[in-house]
Amino acid sequence: MTGNGLLKKLLKTFLWLAIAILGAAALGKIALQRGETLNAIWFVIAAACCYLVAFRIYSAFIAARVLTLDDSRATPAERHDDGRDFVPTNKWVLFGHHFAAIAGPGPLVGPTLAAQFGYLPGTLWLIVGAVLCGCVQDFIILFASIRRDGKSLGEMAREEVGPRGGLIAQLAVLIIMVILLAVVALVVVNALSSSPWATFTLAMTIPIALLLGLYLRFLRPGRVLEASLIGVALVLFVVVAGQWVSDSPSWSHVFTLTGVALAFAIIIYGFAASALPVWLLLAPRDYLSAFIKAGAIFSLAAGILLVRPHVLMPPLTRFVDGNGPVFAGKIFPFCFITIACGAISGFHSLISSGTTPKMILRESHARYIGYGAMLLESFVGVMAMVAACAMPPGVYFAINSPAGIVGASPGEAAATISSWGYPLTAQTMTNLAHAVGEHTLLNRAGGAPSLAVGMAQIFSSTIGGDRLLSIWYHFAIMFEALFILTVLDAGTRVGRFMVQELGGRVWKPFGRTGWMPGILLSSAIIVGLWGYFLYQGVVDPLGGINSLWPLFGIANQLLAAVALVVATTVLLKMGRKRWIWVTLAPMAWIVTITMTASFQKIFDSNPRIGFLANANLLTAQIAAGKVPLAKLADTQRLIFNQKLDAAVTALLALMVIVLIVEAIVQWYSILSSLRDPVLHESPYVATQWPPDFSGVAHGDN
């Protein structure tokens, strides 16, 4: 090595050492700071340094040693290039695609809810969980799918683990979809409830999307960029116009809806989006959402860096004991279940085995896209945590706690929350609601309004001050609700296809995706399923989020366990026994937390945690005559819902146990050489592309 080369290497080593030391110092500051408030910049430094080091060292290790990525091998995008599904795509463009697909409301809502434990547990899990679990899952599933011509997780589970594995993965996806859609819809309902400004703004995005749909279909086919710019301008206009509606007594009345009315409106919308042609409503809304999502996330990051707010939430709150008002349960396992997507999301494995592997140019790009995009999603989660923790804890608890726990009036809520040691006055909540243009901010469980308040405070500290606080708040609500509805309508449509596929096995015509009666019936089934859980959440006296978010977290993390089982089996079959801990350790951890959470959600004796204990308590109250006659039917329905939630949780856990047992049998036979492992990879084909080919379109690289 020349002197120059040695110097470069030394400099690089020192640079990485400095980044590692800075990251460790920032993490130490976050973990050990007591008594004084902490500047949010420490969160950014800790996260950024940990991500950089993990990407530089751990992802490189996985790429080189565990997966031995091979750039001489033609990817599916090269071998099947059809300009439709299989499209060779530039690394950075595909990174953007993949990130836009995986980044949903989960990393925003989960950390906001988990802030009830304090900032420390959630922040640590967001960083550590992403680096060691979530990124690994996304990366390895993406790699496995690339080596199998872009096969889905279900197909890979069937081929590599066993026939039951495929069916379990398919059923798990359908159930998680139903729970997911219900819970995200509930977040929207809680954000819009009794808010004419927010409801008007979101309602107006529907005609705007229809307009864009017609524009893109008939006037300028496929000109997404110009249509989206028009759409974004219109959406920003309706955010401002919402204030005029809110100030007008007659219009304000029209757009002031109760939770139940909003739930039915969203159910009808979901049905329409699923049954209408995709170009008319669903796709243009998705374009709008993608642009606004990218803009809002970038602005939040810039805002945090510019404002550098102080984190007012303590590192640990008194609710580590499991009696939190937002949701009940101790840090282990509920912090992990609640954070979910920001650290590891089973749903990502569907994206990593869906569109992305068909567009990837070279195997080595899987490291940037699979591992790197998840790091960025985790960073979004850390920013959401900062935004939630930057407001006074009393305000945070007032917004996120249900009326059944803190009371429905500002006075009651302030007294209850102050008695917990988080000082709050009724006037503070009234003033804050007035400042953001709302009648009240109390009892808005779900995470979206508190995140919007946090974001609005950061944005208004950068631009506009208090004068623009209400505009920023409603911009943040619109941003959250818009892309939640995008998940809702896209998910409903995919769910409809799943229902049609399953139904088609019983009655063939039902499986035809273009047959109108089949479309209407399957749309009604999928909307009815998530609509039921949504309604149950809306009328739940404990706020719904208390039951539904943990159920969603469990479902999502169990799907991650399925993905990690598949990844472990693939590594074993590839002969990488030595490195099996890379997927086996996260799998064991995810299975442990999800099984513990499932067990507690079903059997815990605390009625706020255990579904069955709550059902028993309500039954006893009826038997003791403590339930008024007028509420008897509602209480009986609540009892049924609690039992249903317990059954769904048990079913999910059981399915994953069956899959794990099947996988263990398979692993045992491989490890004890009872059976030759059969790896279902596509055969090796050498790439024809030159080494510097970057996927730039039209041969102009």
């Binding site: 499209v87 796709a283 039209h698």
Partner: protein, 66 residues
């Protein structure tokens, strides 16, 4: 043209092209230049046909996460 202006224009060009690729604006051009379209035996779709067909395929599988 001065070098900084040239570099700025090139950066804008790259950004614009990246945006078009990212949001799907350039999807039809991609399709026209794909090997299957150039060398395949199938009829080449019009921009309108391609747009609708592409959306139907994209939204029939999970493409948005939680």
């Amino acid at each position: 043209m001065p070098r900084p202006v040239k570099l700025t224009l090139r950066a804008f060009h790259l950004f614009w092209r990246g945006m078009r690729e990212w949001c799907g604006d350039a999807a039809y051009e991609r399709y026209l230049h794909s090997s299957a379209t150039r060398f395949g035996s199938h009829r080449v779709l019009t921009a309108k046909e391609f747009y609708v067909e592409q959306l139907n395929r994209r939204y029939s599988r999970p493409n948005r996460c939680c």
